[in-house]
Symmetry: C2
Subunit: 100 residues, 2 copies
DNA sequence: TTTTGATATCGACATATTTCGATATTTGGT
DNA sequence: ACCAAATATCGAAATATGTCGATATCAAAA
C-alpha cells in the first residue's frame, strides 16, 4: 500500500469518478443483460460508455486503478467486470490518515 | 476543498515529507535561534536544507501546499514560517473518506 | 544606504501524464 | 473456421509536472 502511488491515481477526475460510480452500480448503470447482477461490479463497456472518453483511455484507467489494488477485475466470457476492492480502499484511507 | 487538487499535491514524495516533518518540528529540525519556538511552524530555510532539493523547488512546493490550504505561512522579519493547517488537513481526510 | 540572508519568481529543459486512434487479443456465436 | 463484440496494447501528440540556476524582492543589520 503506497499512499503516494494511490494518490497519483486518485488525482484524476475520471478515475475518481469511476470509483464513485462503482459504489452504486444499480443507480449509475443499466442492468447487465447477461448476468442480471452487479456482484462482480460493472463491465468495462458500460464504464467506457458513461465516461465520454475513448475505450483505450478507459481501459488504461481501469488498469491503473487495478494496479494499485483499488478495483478487482473478473473476466466472464466476453466481459470483464470491475468491482471496488473495499478492503484496499479502507486500507488506503487508514494509511493516509496515519501518514498525514 | 477540492479532493483531487489536494491529491495532486500529495502525490509527490517531497511534498508529503514536508507535511510529515511539520508534524514534529522539534524532532525534525534544529531550534529556531530567533524565535526559540515552533509556534508558527518551521522556517523555509530549514525545510530547504533538509530536503536536498534546490531552494526554488522547495519554495515552489511550499506555495503549492499553501495554495490548497494544507499549510499556513507567517512572515516574521526575514523568515517565513510554515505550519500545518490541521483544520484543513482534517477536512481533507473527512472529504476523501466521504467521496471514496 | 549598502550589504547580506531568506524567500519568491522566471525561464528553461527533461520527464511524466493525458488522451487519442489504430491495431491486437480474447471469446462467444454462426 | 470465421466474424463480431469486449477488452488490451501500442505509438504518438499535446499538455503538465519536476527541477534547476539565475534573478528579483524584501527585511534586517552594518
Amino acid at each position: 500500500m503506497n499512499v503516494i502511488e494511490v494518490n497519483k491515481v486518485l488525482s484524476n477526475k475520471t478515475r475518481m469518478d469511476i470509483l464513485k460510480w462503482l459504489k452504486n452500480p444499480e443507480k449509475e448503470f443499466p442492468p447487465h443483460k447477461e448476468l442480471g447482477h452487479f456482484d462482480f461490479g460493472v463491465c468495462g463497456q458500460f464504464i467506457y460508455e458513461k465516461s465520454g472518453l475513448s475505450q483505450s483511455t478507459i481501459s488504461n484507467y481501469l488498469s491503473q486503478l487495478q494496479n494499485v489494488g483499488l478495483i478487482t477485475p473478473t473476466r466472464i466470457g466476453k466481459w470483464t467486470y470491475f468491482k471496488r476492492n473495499e478492503e484496499q480502499i479502507a486500507a488506503f484511507l487508514k494509511e493516509i490518515h496515519k501518514e498525514l
